[in-house]
């Protein structure tokens, strides 16, 4: 994200090195007006991208009774109306703290399990030999694009038979299953980038394969593990569809709770706006802290 900014800024304003002075002047004028236009277009786009989220934040800070008197933008001229009371009411008790906690209880294990299983399998697919290895991996590549919708009915039935349907482990299990193809694919590709000589040298020194995996390969693939953690965590944290079906009343995450509030949309902005903002706060903080890994993951994931 930070790599593409320095050089081009210079080329836009610098005139072409050849040509008579008059030509240079017009070129310069054209490039000046066009760069002005570029600025305007990007500023308009930036505003369009910013306003919806700012609107949600401001709405979440306005008392419910003001909702009828005017839009959130009236708060920009009268900031005195802003208050944290919606948040204190929401977090003070009731369903939201529990739903938020359920979201954590689903996201964290689903992320750790997926990454752990994928790291092991990825290493085996990259560096260990076992019968059918390449064919099986090709199958994993094929599973990359299977939509989660295909699993909803069969897995619901399967989990119902073993009593997992409607529980947090049931939701976690589904996410692990549908996170694995991409996770295994990503890990295997990253393990393959480790030079064979390094692993061979460790082997010559008498290192067992398990130790090579744990102490050598895994640390070398740390950036991939990080991107994978972030992606899987965000995927599960943001999921609504899977939890809508697989979570019960006691295990519903924040997204499902908020979805159940959509029926009264308009009259309950004091719940929906702060609730939605709480649910997007964690992903945005994760995004801002780890944007480098996020971009790498997005690049790698563009085959998914």
């Amino acid at each position: 994200m930070t790599t593409t900014q320095a050089a081009p800024a210079a080329t836009a304003s610098a005139p072409a090195p050849t040509g008579r002075p008059a030509v240079r002047l017009t070129t310069r004028l054209v490039s000046l007006t066009s760069s002005g236009l570029v600025q305007v277009v990007l500023i308009v786009a930036a505003v369009a991208w910013l306003v919806p989220t700012v609107g949600l934040l401001v709405s979440s800070l306005r008392p419910k009774q003001l909702g009828a008197t005017g839009g959130w933008w009236t708060a920009l001229t009268r900031p005195a109306q802003l208050t944290l009371q919606n948040y204190t009411a929401l977090l003070g008790g009731g369903d939201v703290p529990k739903a938020l906690w359920n979201t954590v209880l689903i996201s964290v294990p689903a992320t750790l399990l997926t990454v752990a299983l994928a790291a092991g399998a990825g290493y085996a697919f990259a560096w260990l030999r076992f019968p059918g290895r390449d064919g099986i991996f090709l199958g994993v590549v094929g599973l990359l694009v299977v939509p989660v919708q295909v699993g909803l009915i069969p897995v619901a039935r399967l989990e119902g038979a073993v009593g997992l349907f409607g529980t947090i482990p049931g939701v976690v299990l589904f996410h692990v299953g549908y996170g694995l193809p991409f996770a295994v694919f990503l890990m295997r590709n990253h393990f393959l980038e480790i030079p064979a000589e390094i692993l061979e040298a460790a082997r010559m020194d008498g290192c067992g394969e398990w130790r090579i995996f744990r102490t050598l390969a895994l640390p070398l693939a740390a950036p991939a593990v990080a991107s994978l953690c972030i992606f899987q965590f965000l995927w599960v944290w943001n999921d609504m569809l899977v939890a809508l079906i697989f979570a019960g009343n006691d295990s519903q995450p924040l997204t499902v709770y908020l979805q159940s509030q959509m029926r009264q949309f308009g009259s309950n902005m004091d719940i929906l706006a702060p609730g939605a903002f709480l649910s997007l706060l964690v992903p945005v903080v994760v995004f801002l802290c780890f944007q480098r890994f996020f971009v790498q993951g997005a690049m790698a994931g563009s085959v998914k």
Partner: protein
Amino acid sequence: MSLRSPRRGQASGGALRRHRGLALLLVLPALLLLGALVVYPIGYSVARSLFDASGHRFVGLDNYGAAFTDHATLTAARNNAIWVAVAPALVTAVGLVFAVLTEKVRWATAFKLLVFMPMAISFLAAGIIFRTVYDADPHRGVLNAAAVAVHDTFDDQPSYPGARPRPGVGLDRVGSGDVTAPAATHVVLLPLVGVQPDTLPAGARTARRPDAGDGVSGTVFLDFVPGGGGHPGQLGPGKQGLPGIEVQLRDGGRTIATTTTADDGTFRFAAAPSATTTLVLPAADFAAPYRGVDWLGPALVTPAIIGAYIWIWAGFAMVIIAGGLANLPRETIEAARIDGAGEWQIFRRITVPQLAPVLGVVFITMVINVMKIFDLVYIIAPGPVQQDAGVLALRLYLVSFGGGNDQGLGSALSVLLLLLVVPVMLLNVRRFRGSRA
């Protein structure tokens, strides 16, 4: 991407066997889960789609037939087609424009951060955000607030919805909604009632009898004194003039002059009164004020949701394309620039063709993504128009879990959804095999 380390062959047989044990230990958990949760469901869905809702009666391909005849499912299929035809191309185009433009400004990093951020948040949160943005009420939805503000800047004619002529004083309301009065005298009073107090402009002043002249003049006023009093149809203290009303003078159906009332409700024409002329207040004077666009109505709901989708994914496209752009050889572009090529020519003939592989990856990623679109539609489309906005994944959910309770039809829909991504699946496998060879 080579699959084998060259010296693997030297490992002893014992080591290999131990490797094999470890390999199975590492691979088996993942494979078992994949088998039970992804592979088995594919087979189960295919089989289940051949049975009826109860799951006991074999119905062959009837569920697929139902999927292609059921009205709601057809609407969903049509909407899915619109999504696939429009959204990936738009996302890629917007991402390309952003990627190219940000190369020319100093605050590129901030811009990219801002536009990329929506990708991190859930469809649910984005859905709630855009449900609010698209709210039809200009006092709640920012888009309609902006639309109304822009509209009123260009057309600030006050309008008096609900206003009607005082009965029994010679004013008439014709079928088109125009209010008419004969212009047979020099001064014509046009008393209206039923004006809502909040539509009265701030500048309105007490109604006044116009100065007599050669032409037709008159006053349009609110024939109502707050608190009571006054004589119906006549001017008096407390009666407000209605400013900004368009008044036409017609002669035998032909408009010969048009004017607008002043703050005290008066107006004046140069033409003299006659038996054939009439004064007309056109229906537009009484039209409801502009309230913006019904974004989430049946007609616009899908384009509106696609707009929200672009907001979410354009940043992804931008970042991937910017990455590709950074890797392009600069020499060609510099050479073209020295040869006098314009920026647009460079963009069209050099940048875009060189970026084609990256654009293709972004486009295909978006196509796969769009086929499965669910959350955004489910959240943004209000209940009454949900069927108009329906997509296959939403239909699948509603049919199997959201009250429809027909998992036979649901399975058929999930098989159709899977078939849609099979080409990409084969492409992935082929590309992977190719890269390995």
